[in-house]
Structure formats: structure tokens, C-alpha cells
Amino acid sequence: MAYTAHFKVWRGDGSGGALQDFDVEVNEGEVVLDIIHRLQATQTPDLAVRWNCKAGKCGSCSAEINGRPRLMCMTRMSTFTEEQTIAVTPMRTFPVIRDLVTDVSYNYEKARMVPSFAPPADLAPGDYRMAQVDVERSQEFRKCIECFLCQDVCHVIRDHEPNKESYSGPRFLIRLAELDMHPLDTVDRRDVAVEDHGLGFCNITKCCTEVCPEGIKITDNGIIPLKERVVDKRYDPVFSVGSLFRKGQKRSAPPT
């Protein structure tokens, strides 16, 4: 059942690089990360790759396999034919450090711009009461393993480097949505979403949802509802007029 597969692995660093050819053994049940490890152990001991859990839980092993953003540890070799050449490159939206490893610091900087959870000041630890149905939406977004594949595939920054300045990408739009839907949060993040995180850049073309290994419905359940909440405040003929009377940016108590 073992066979020899043909791989093209991108090797190089920020100053240049290219796809390199390898013939490597593949056994039953293996995933792409196993093959990369076999290359390390037998042919190129210094091939750089990031991984931790090898179980799709940590989001470290993100790369592009035959042009598709994927987790290497969750891409089974059996999804390819034995004749198929398999091309593995690093994520192409972030600067490359070496081989398959990229510099994802963009994401950590954006994370720092998200206003943190702000519970009511007078609520003591242990007294939090939240219904399951009220936390479920935010829980979906908290499944995120921060693999940054959605960030990688998002054309807003993938194809337009300058937009990184003003756009935070799908991962952090759902983080904003998560907090905005939190039943005990007291901050209104809608203006921040538009002004600091560039919500309007997203043209809901849904590639983020297509690649998310956690199956989070990033657009349908996160970004679109967030856009709709912004519309509630800014553009809706009924609600936004109503809210003129309920003035103020900060919600003093959690919104209903």
C-alpha cells in the first residue's frame, strides 16, 4: 500500500525561493504533515515547518496545498491520486520566514486592537448567569483555533498588501461579533468594527468560510450579522431613527 509520491515543496525565505521536487514514500492513512516530517527525517533535516498537536486543534500547521489553504495535519494523502503531484507552499498572504513558516504577527497586532470584554462593573465572579441559548452564538466563534487560514485566503489583504493597514480580516471580525453578541458585555463595538477594523472592506465573497477547518460559518453567522448590526445603528430607516432618542455610544447595561 506504500507508494512513492511526487511532492513540490516551497523552500526559501523572504529574499526568494522556489518549489523543490521530492520523491517520498507514502503509507496508508498518512496526512501531508507526515510526509513533510518524513522529508525532514530522511532528505532535508532543516526543512522548516510549524506544527504542534497533529490533531487539528492548535492551528499551527497552516499552509497551502495545491493552492488551497489547509491544515497539513488534517489533509489526508488519500484525497489525492497516487499520480498527482502535490504542491505545498507557505501561506501567501504573510511574509515568509523560512520554507513553510510565515510571520503571522499581523494577526497578533490586530487582536490587540479589539476592545476587550467588559462585564458590568458590579457583577461579582460566581454571579454570572447566562442562558445556554444566549452563549451559543459566541461559542461558535470561540471554536476558532487561530490557524489564520481565513486571513490567508481573504482577498482583501491577500491581493492588496496596503489594506493590511486598515483591515483586520475575518478572524477579528468574528471576534468583534463574538463580543458584540456576548450576553454580559457592555461595550458597543459597532463603530470600532467599521472605523478601526474596516468591516466595509469585506465583500462577503465567503472564502473565509470555505477554508475554516473548524467549520465556523464566518460570514453567515459572524460578519453579515455584524454588518446588519451596523446597519441597525447607522442606516436603518426604523431602528436608527429610534436610536437617536436612546443616545450614547456606550451601553451602560448589557443590551437586551
Partner: protein, 264 residues
């Protein structure tokens, strides 16, 4: 700027726009075909159809509600715009479904991918150098989807009313039914499905709330709308098809190519 996007210095230089080996271009190509065909059909019906949109008791969706006094007798129930309106009466209402669909979250995805090629498919580089998204005029107008949703509801009501009127015979007697009645009912149903599965609908029903538990009825409705919402793209296409079928049927009747099979 020759080097932006995936060619930005510092990123891994791979040299090709995509390494995808699958036929990623099929999907956008099909969407272009489908939407272009529909738009062509729509233009033909709106500008060249002013004599073939009504065949009692059926009215074409492109012209309903017919609100100009130039509307053909029988279809002019809602007419309140005077004879000064010289163009086709379709223009008075067709902007509503047009705007509704142009600003629809699903259609936006479809046309941004297929016509704008931004992006043509996931992880396939888009050809354009700059991209500002929906933050400026005119695309910022997509935020008006909420307004169109409200109008869309109204329209769905009227089309339901049209379907009810189709239970008359050509002379206006109630209690009759023909093939056209069936088509109008199906069409109205699909439009409801499309309209109620809308993301704006989902938000207004309860999505904007943070405490579902305090609004059990709205929450129940939200779960139902959410279920339909998952199939919104499907309803977008199905309803497009039923519009064409129902309208073309009216055209065939009105232009005398066909007579309506009556059931009773």
C-alpha cells in the same frame, strides 16, 4: 505598483497566480451565464414587453403592481401615477426587486466573484490593483439592503395578492383556476422563501438581540429563519427561475402563442 498582493516583497515568491489544480473557474463562469441570461431577459421584458404583461387574470411580475394610468385595463388596480409617465410602467416598480437583489448578500458574493473577479475563486489572485470594498460610493449603497428588504416584503405581499386574483377566470369570476394560477402561486411561494430567508430578516426577527432567552417567541422564529437562511442562495436561484417561468408564461398567453389550460 507592479508588486502587490501575492507578489509583495517578503512573501513567498511562487510565481503563479494560483496552484489550484481543480476547475475553479467553472463556478464563476456558470454564474455569469445565469445572471447575464436573466438580465437580458429582464431588459427585453421591461422595455419590449409593455403589450404582453397582462393576460387576465394573470399579471407579469415585472409589471406588478402596475401603478401608472397607462397600465392595461384589468392590471391597473393600483394605478395612481398620471398619464404624464411616458415610459414603460415596469420601470416604476422593477427597481425594487432589482435593488433588493443587487444589495442581497448572496448576489453580492455572486457578482463580486464572477463579474468583478474579486476574487474569481478562493486563493486565486484577483486582477485588480486596488480594492476598497464596500466603503465608498457607490458600493456603500449596499448598506441599503435593509430598506429593500422592507420593500421586498411589500412586494411579496402584492405578488401573493396577484396569485389570489389568479383564482378568477378571464371574465373576473371567482372560483376558477388554470395553469397560470399554479405558476403564480409557486412563484409567490419562492419569493417568500427568498425574502424571509434574507439576512436582514434574520437580524430584524431576533438576530439583533443579545438575550434570546428573554424573547422566546422571537428566538423560535429566529431559529426557523436561520434554518431557511442557510438555503438562501438556493432560493435566490430558484426564485429567479420561477420569475422567468411565470413571466414567460404570461407573455405566451398575452401574445397569443398559447391558451391557458383551465382546471375548473
Amino acid at each position: 505598483m507592479a508588486t502587490t498582493g501575492i507578489d509583495t516583497p517578503g512573501r513567498a515568491q511562487v510565481g503563479v497566480k494560483t496552484l489550484r489544480q481543480d476547475a475553479w473557474w467553472i463556478q464563476p463562469a456558470l454564474v455569469v451565464l445565469g445572471l447575464t441570461a436573466f438580465v437580458a431577459y429582464g431588459i427585453w421584458r421591461v422595455f419590449w414587453g409593455s403589450h404582453t404583461y397582462y393576460s387576465a387574470p394573470y399579471i407579469s411580475i415585472f409589471y406588478s403592481p402596475c401603478i401608472a394610468s397607462s397600465c392595461v385595463p384589468g392590471a391597473d388596480e393600483f394605478a395612481f401615477i398620471g398619464s404624464w409617465w411616458a415610459w414603460t410602467p415596469a420601470l416604476l416598480v422593477a427597481w425594487i426587486p432589482l435593488g433588493f437583489r443587487l444589495t442581497c448578500y448572496y448576489y453580492r458574493k455572486a457578482y463580486f466573484r464572477s463579474y468583478w473577479l474579486s476574487p474569481p475563486a478562493c486563493a486565486v489572485a484577483e486582477p485588480r490593483k486596488n480594492y476598497t470594498g464596500e466603503r465608498r460610493f457607490p458600493l456603500i449603497l449596499n448598506n441599503s439592503h435593509r430598506w429593500f428588504f422592507y420593500l421586498g416584503l411589500l412586494l411579496a405581499l402584492i405578488l401573493t395578492y396577484d396569485a389570489v386574483l389568479a383564482f378568477r377566470d378571464p371574465q373576473g369570476q371567482w372560483g376558477h383556476m388554470g395553469l397560470g394560477t399554479v405558476l403564480l402561486i409557486i412563484n409567490a411561494f419562492c419569493l417568500w422563501a427568498y425574502t424571509l430567508s434574507c439576512h436582514s430578516c434574520r437580524n430584524t426577527i431576533a438576530g439583533r438581540l443579545n438575550h434570546f432567552s428573554k424573547h422566546p417567541v422571537r428566538y423560535r422564529m429566529w431559529t426557523i429563519v436561520s434554518r431557511w437562511n442557510r438555503h438562501h442562495p438556493k432560493w435566490a436561484w430558484i426564485s429567479l427561475a420561477t420569475i422567468v417561468i411565470a413571466d414567460y408564461y404570461v407573455y405566451l398567453l398575452a401574445s397569443g402563442h398559447l391558451t391557458d389550460p383551465r382546471f375548473f
